[in-house]
Amino acid sequence: MEFGLSEEQRLLQASVSGFLEKASELDVVRKIAEGDQSARDVLQEGIDSLGLAGVMIPEDFGGLGMTLLDAALVEEMLGRYVTPQGFLSNQMAVAGLLASGTQEQKETWLPKIAEGSVQFGIGIAEQTGAREGAGLDEKDGKLTGRALFVTEADKASQFIVADRSGRLHLVIGDAGGLSRKKLSTIDVTRSVGELVFDSVAAEALLTENVAGAAAQKMLAVGRVLQAADTLGAAQRMIEKAVAYSLERKQFNRVIGSFQAVKHMCAEMAAELEPCRSLMWFAAHAYDAEPDQVALMAAHAKSHVAEVGKFVARTATEVHGGIGFTDVLGLHFWFKRIGLNRQMFGSPETARQDAARLQGWV
């Protein structure tokens, strides 16, 4: 019995962290957010050189053959360093392809993901409650309609999207009849957008047993990674709040010596620490207890989102006025946590899913 990270996993996380500490420092993130393509390329090359995109891809398909927990540890670090990255979308694509792709589809795409030559975008937001009447209909291998809140909508070379029935389709980024639009969000480190389909050629992922099952699996992977991302970002916000409170003086004392500030920090840490174990288990379940992954992902998603909201607000408050400004860039973390909360189903939606999965609804 070992509930914890293996030596390899600690090393993996340390190496990603060590790399991002410099490669994704705040100045770099700012540059990329402002559209500096060369800064983005440098970061991407570094990430590719670590082979991260292939972390969950079986070795047969050129990947590292590791688990979702490993991917989550990577995502935790991406959250920690508010790194602009399409890692999460690619991992969801891997999950979709493995769950429902044909052998040929896997052979075509998985090695490309592993080598970093493609970026997938994911369009499954309609599965957790469509807005604006969005949705896709498939007819004779062609998709028509709109998909909202598609990840990497502006950058992806390929997409996996779900139609109204929940079935997945693979779409090439420059397919005829497909138009893409970026949607600005509060979080400039990630990319979300709209795809409009006018009879666009699509290739169905067909091998799934139950319609929508593969989409649900992708959703679970997305939620687990999102929880990991928020965990990393929130952990960093706590560290920043504590560090700032030990520097900043008011009334001739560092503010970290005031009980009110100490207790705010203690509450953040106490709330966040168990989230780590919850996220670990949810990720572990994907590989070890697949029956449980959807439920555990719903729990991880909703609970970490709630704690993340509390931490984001409280850590900003500990910083006082400077936390409200752009000076320290604290808001990059605040907004990263904010976006995670809203995507792939709100906490209420995820809890409703958890209840449904236990037969309570």
Binding site: A125, T128, G129, A130, R131, E132, G133, L148, F149, K181, L183, S184, T185, I186, D187, V192, E194, K249, Q250, F251, N252, R253, I255, S257, F258, A260, V261, K309, R313, T316, E317, G320, G321, I322, G323, F324, T325, D326, V327, L330, H331, F334, K335, G338, L339, R341, Q342, M343, G345, S346, P347, E348, T349, Q352
Partner: protein, 390 residues
């Protein structure tokens, strides 16, 4: 308990309504203007209680009449008078503590909008502990020479003048070494830099002083009395935060949204979880609104509401923040759209307010300072003991 108005006040309301009908065409679209301000002062709808000698309307203070004016202007969608820190904070301070000459010189042009003021209080190292401010002014001939830095100065670019706290008596205890100076923003040695906030907007500035020379006569109160003068001003600021009517407006916007928006084809109002959260928030909004009426009543009667007043900033700001957070939640992915995106709701107001309100929770006395104040002044609990070693 009587929520109706006496005939005198009903008549006053009619008078306001008539004014609005008559002058509606002259009102500016959007922000208040100087011309509009002039009309309002003439009729007593701005600078209402400022003496005529100083360019005001000279009416007796009457909380209820002020409330009626505000209500009718809001209902009609008309802008009120000019509102800036000069009018809301500096003028009342000057009326209370300025010399006759200063009142004559500054109040009228400020009311008219000919002079715009900004406030120079906070410093990077003096946030909650405002009295520890370090910007210093030393006397050189007939001038103070100011060096240092201010922060959170909200209209520094547009302002003509600053009212500013500086340390003039470095050897006095911290509360007794401060003076309250007035000077032009054109004085050489002043540099203004915008301060971008988490909302993306630069709603505040930093102001840097390098050998800024200000005549020693440009002081309100005596040297070393600035803290006392500033507290008169802060009293006026505090009243502006945590307004329960704003919460009511937001709540109504959310109700409307929940009746119109759908998620997965289901109306948001049909989601029992969202509905329950809505009713919870509505209870808090109602409680704060009636609490506001209670405070107005105390004010009318000239009573000190004590604790009841001290909680308004804490509870009001938190409620506004929670309303924005709730709106974001029910909007789902739409709730994180920003800055002119397609599908953006209410022009991004909720996202903006959720962050800006956090700034308000922090600014003007953080939530922690508010709780200190409530426990000490409201409940009679002891102040934080001084540490043995500094």
């Amino acid at each position: 308990m009587d929520l109706s108005l006496t005939p005198e006040y009903e008549a006053f309301r009619q008078e306001v309504v008539r004014f609005i009908e008559d002058y509606r065409d002259q009102a500016p679209r959007g922000y208040p203007s100087k011309a509009w301000q002039k009309i309002l002062i003439e009729h007593g709808y701005a600078a209402r209680t400022i003496p005529r000698d100083y360019g005001g309307y000279g009416a007796e203070p009457d909380v209820l009449k002020s409330r009626i004016i505000a209500e009718e202007f809001t209902k009609a969608g008309l802008p009120g008078g000019l509102s800036n820190q000069g009018i809301s904070m500096f003028v009342p301070t000057l009326l209370e503590l300025g010399s006759e000459e200063q009142k004559k010189q500054w109040i009228e042009p400020t009311l008219k909008g000919d002079i715009v003021w900004c406030q120079g209080y906070s410093e990077p190292n003096s946030g909650s502990d405002l009295a520890s401010l370090q910007t210093k002014a030393v006397v050189d001939g007939d001038d103070f020479v100011i060096n240092g830095q201010k922060i959170w100065t909200s209209t520094a670019y547009e302002a003509d003048m600053m009212f500013c706290l500086v340390r003039t008596e470095p050897d006095a205890p911290k509360h007794k070494g401060i003076s309250y100076l007035l000077f032009s923003m054109d004085t050489p040695g002043i540099e203004v830099r915008p301060l971008k906030t988490m909302t993306g907007a630069a709603s505040f500035n930093e102001v840097f002083f390098t050998d800024v020379r200000v005549p020693t006569t440009q002081i309100v109160g005596q040297r070393g009395e600035g803290w006392f003068v500033a507290n008169a001003t802060l009293k006026y600021e505090r009243g502006m935060l945590g307004d329960p009517n704003q919460a009511g407006t937001r709540l109504n916007a959310i109700i409307k949204m929940m009746k119109e928006e759908t998620m997965g084809g289901e109306k948001l109002m049909d989601n029992p979880l969202y509905r329950d959260r809505l009713v919870k928030l509505q209870s808090r909004v109602l409680a704060m609104q009636y609490h506001g009426l209670r405070l107005v009543t105390h004010q009318i009667k000239g009573e000190d509401p004590g604790l009841a007043r001290l909680i308004v900033k804490l509870m009001g700001c938190e409620l506004n923040h929670d309303l924005a957070g709730f709106a974001i939640d029910i909007l789902g992915e739409l709730g994180v759209l920003y800055h002119g995106s397609s599908y953006l709701r209410d022009n991004g107001m909720w996202q903006h307010r959720y962050m800006f309100d956090l700034g308000l929770i922090i600014g003007g006395g953080t939530a922690q300072i508010q709780k200190n104040i409530i426990s000490e002044r409201g409940l009679g609990m002891p102040r934080e003991p001084k540490p043995a070693t500094v």
